[in-house]
């Protein structure tokens, strides 16, 4: 019996203890996957409740606006901190990084286990929102002075952010070390998968910027519970400090989410077009690292109308518009990879195509937000909601779902049903376009975000109902996807080692599913090996 098959047999016996105390990066990945999709599901339910509430003017399913505000708080905080960041820098990073660079595991497996534990504690703390009296109702932004004077328990927000933040920093230390030190012989910097580059960039930003968010939310709880006055205008503080600190992390956070999503899209497009990545170095050094370079100088566009000085507004307008350059290079790279490709439209590729269109709309509708003068009208309106759902929420979700389909055969050893997979995609794609295009239109018409009721805008009730219908279609699409995965786990056919015909290491060299230690034999890569070495 070979080492690999022994390991496989060991793996097939289920033991909860082994899962909780695991240090195997693939199991840690799956723990992240379960946690992040649970957060996605619960936060999705919150979205459905809110959309239902907005279907009519006046109370629809609750007459207490605080309920709505708590749903909205949970939806935003859980989607960003509990679902998007952990699924990308937790699940995908854990599953792919060691496999793609030919390593046995991450550099610090026990630190990795600590990361996922901290993350789960954060998730549990967040879920207590539905149990405790006076849950936080402060939006995911937690702006003071409201977050300080509210009867809601702001401490839950602070500690959720801190736990998940620690988890991220530990992950950053771990993965940056792994990528720098543990690449198999022959995998040089210019032979890394684009996803690896994107993960590196995301963790560099997390390590730099998470402490700033940690500081901001900690000071918030100091003000609320310990009587300090950092954000208290009566005592010489100002809430504007918080707004600056918060966005100094939270705009880079958009790129922490976006870049790994883009990385997954590159993997899918290269594999399903069986094509080399168009202008690899331009994508890596211009697109990915250009985004990182600019990420720290664009925060101010969130607070143009919060009394930042005019000279700063003008500088930020320019630096924020410049983001179009690296992002444009990333898009050119994706579209260019289709050129002379050999494209097969399996479910992951459909999601990648969906991403191209959603991200195009999301990216272009960001340009008005960069321009300080135009922003005056759209600040705090549904235009912003629609825009960031296009660019971050749903386009990255297509990357996450598409990426999960892509890794599915490797991870579970099972194939899934193509028809069901595609049905889920179309429902999702149609739903998001109905919902978020109309959301943006309402914002342009002046409909503010975070509104429980809209008796000042009764003329928009019809539009609101169409948006609500669209959101139900999204939910249906997500349910079909969930059913597809459960169906596959129970009835799926056994997956071959490389069902997609990819040239990337995890498909060509690792068994399906990979055993602990990943590669049974030491890797020997030829001189001209490349993860995108198609068409030779």
């Amino acid at each position: 019996m070979s080492v690999a098959s022994q390991a496989l047999t060991a793996q097939s016996k289920f033991s909860l203890k082994e899962w909780i105390f695991t240090t195997d990066h693939k199991r840690v990945a799956i723990l992240y996957l379960i946690g992040s999709f649970a957060a996605f599901f619960v936060a999705g339910i919150m979205a459905m409740l809110m959309r239902t509430e907005l279907a009519t003017v006046g109370p629809t399913i609750t007459s207490n606006p605080t309920n709505y505000n708590v749903w909205l708080y949970f939806h935003g905080a859980a989607m960003i901190l509990g679902y998007q960041i952990p699924s990308l820098t937790g699940f995908f990073a854990n599953y792919y990084v060691p496999l793609m660079i030919g390593a046995k595991d991450v550099a610090f497996p026990r630190l990795n286990a600590l990361s996922v534990w901290l993350y789960w504690m954060g998730i549990v703390l967040a879920l207590l929102t539905f149990v405790i009296p006076d849950p936080p109702d402060i939006m995911w932004t937690g702006y003071p002075p409201y977050s300080i004077i509210t009867p809601g328990n702001t401490a839950f927000y602070t500690f959720t952010v801190l736990l998940i933040g620690f988890s991220s920093i530990a992950g950053g230390v771990n993965f940056l070390t792994t990528i720098i030190r543990m690449r198999a012989p022959g995998i040089t910097w210019n032979k890394l998968n684009i996803f690896i580059w994107c993960t590196m960039a995301a963790f560099v930003m997390q390590v730099i910027f998470v402490p700033i968010l940690g500081t901001a939310v900690t000071l918030l709880s100091f003000d609320k519970y310990l009587g300090t006055h950092f954000f208290d205008a009566n005592a010489g503080g100002t809430p504007l400090i918080y707004e600056n600190l918060f966005w100094f992390y939270s705009h880079p956070a958009v790129y922490v989410i976006l870049l790994p999503g883009v990385g997954l899209i590159y993997e899918i497009v290269a594999t399903f077009a069986r094509n080399r990545v168009f202008n690899y170095k331009g994508v890596v050094y211009g697109g990915i690292w250009g985004t990182v370079l600019l990420s720290g100088v664009v925060w101010g566009h969130h607070i143009y109308v919060s009394a930042i000085p005019s000279w700063l507004a003008l500088i930020i307008t320019f630096t924020t518009l410049l983001i179009s350059i690296p992002v444009g290079l990333l898009v050119i790279g994706i579209v260019g990879t289709l050129y002379k490709g050999s494209i097969e439209f399996k479910t992951p590729m459909l999601y990648a195509v969906g991403f191209m269109f959603l991200f195009l709309i999301g990216g272009l509708t960001g340009i008005p937000n960069a321009m300080s003068a135009i922003y005056i009208h759209i600040h705090g309106t549904q235009w912003i909601t629609g825009h960031f759902h296009y660019v971050m929420a749903v386009s990255v979700t297509t990357a996450i779902i598409g990426g999960t389909y892509y890794v599915w055969p490797k991870m579970t050893g099972k194939m899934y049903n193509e028809t069901l997979g595609k049905l889920g995609f179309w429902l999702f794609f149609i739903g998001v376009n109905i919902t978020f295009s109309l959301t943006m239109w309402l914002g342009y018409k002046g409909w503010p975000r975070r509104y429980y009721d809209y008796s000042q805008f009764p003329q928009f009730q019809g539009t609101q109902q169409i948006i609500t219908a669209g959101s139900y279609i999204i939910f249906l699409g997500a349910l079909v996807t969930l059913i597809t995965w459960i169906h596959s786990l129970i009835w799926g056919e056994k997956a071959p080692q490389n069902p997609w015909g990819s040239k990337s290491l995890e498909w060509t060299h690792a068994p399906t599913p990979p055993p602990p230690g990943n590669y049974p034999e030491p890797l020997k890569l030829s001189e001209d090996w490349h993860p995108y070495g198609y068409g030779k």
Binding site: P65, N69, I138, M139, Y143, P145, Y146, I149, T150, A233, N234, T238, L240, R274, N275, R276, N279, G282, V305, A307, L314, T317, F318, L321, L322, S324, L329, I332, V335, L338, Y339, K340, G341, S342, I343, M356, F357, L360, L364, I367, P368, M371, S372, A373, I374, I376, H377, H379, G380, K445, G446, P448, R450, Y451, Y452, D453, Y454, Q456, Y534, G535
Partner: protein, 245 residues
């Protein structure tokens, strides 16, 4: 006809036009409307911007769809034959897009700078009104010591200068119809200005756009644009009577 003669005639013609239109305006009792207000500038730039992003979007989408259709896999074993770029071509595919995007960025930034200047420079003849946000409503205070809640009455045809403060948390004062908004922050006095035209006489929505707690969405009121004489009469009627106080 000599050049001097021509200029002279042109001058008379212009002079006559000015006198004539001024007298017509006087006769009809209407004022000359201010042009180049922030709202007009915003609408103009928004239209330009929508054309700009639509063109870019359509070009990218068309290229993507074309490539998706023409590069489908013909036989199962096929592999893509994407180009291996020479160093010069790779450099070009970075530098040329940089210049194209940067050109558009600089153009848009310049337009935005100009409009921002318009938004932030209040005309000298503006009528000053104080607005204070609180959980959950707006107090409107006139120089004549009139205070009303959730109702902002303004005369048409005159720039309005709003001085914004907050009694408690951060609010954001927004009048969608005039494309103006600014945050009301405790401990600071912020400002904005807008210009209601004669044709805009009537009611407009003003509402809060920064989350401020339970009744955030109920924190709205009316902007009532009135003809100037009616506005003056309203001020007279509502002024606290001196001596009785």
């Amino acid at each position: 006809m000599g050049r001097k003669n021509f200029l002279k005639r042109l001058f008379y013609l212009l002079f006559a036009t000015v006198i004539l239109s001024a007298s017509m305006v006087y006769a009809n009792g209407i004022k000359i409307e201010m042009t180049g207000t922030p709202a007009e500038g915003w609408e103009h730039l928004w239209r330009e911007l929508m054309i700009d992003i639509t063109v870019i979007g359509v070009v990218f989408a068309a290229v993507t769809i074309y490539l998706l259709i023409t590069n489908r896999r013909k036989r199962p074993g096929d592999e893509g034959q994407g180009p291996k770029l020479s160093p010069l071509a790779a450099f070009g595919w970075v530098v040329i897009p940089i210049f194209v995007f940067m050109a558009d960025d600089i153009y848009l930034a310049a337009e935005s700078f100009e409009l921002w200047g318009n938004y932030r420079n209040v005309p000298a003849n503006a009528l000053v009104i104080n607005v204070e946000g609180y959980m959950w409503g707006w107090d409107v205070k006139y120089p004549e010591k009139i205070i009303i809640t959730n109702e902002l009455r303004v005369p048409a045809g005159r720039p309005i200068h709003i001085k914004l403060t907050s009694r408690d948390v951060v609010h954001s004062f927004f009048i969608p119809d005039f494309h103006v908004k600014w945050d009301a922050v405790k401990g600071r006095e912020n400002y904005l200005w807008f210009y209601p035209k004669q044709v805009e006489a009537g009611e407009h929505v003003m509402t809060c756009t920064e989350f401020c707690g339970m009744l955030h969405s109920s924190m709205f009121g009316k902007v009532i644009v009135m003809p100037e004489n009616e506005f003056n009469k309203w001020i007279e009627d509502n002024k606290p009577k001196g001596g009785n106080v």
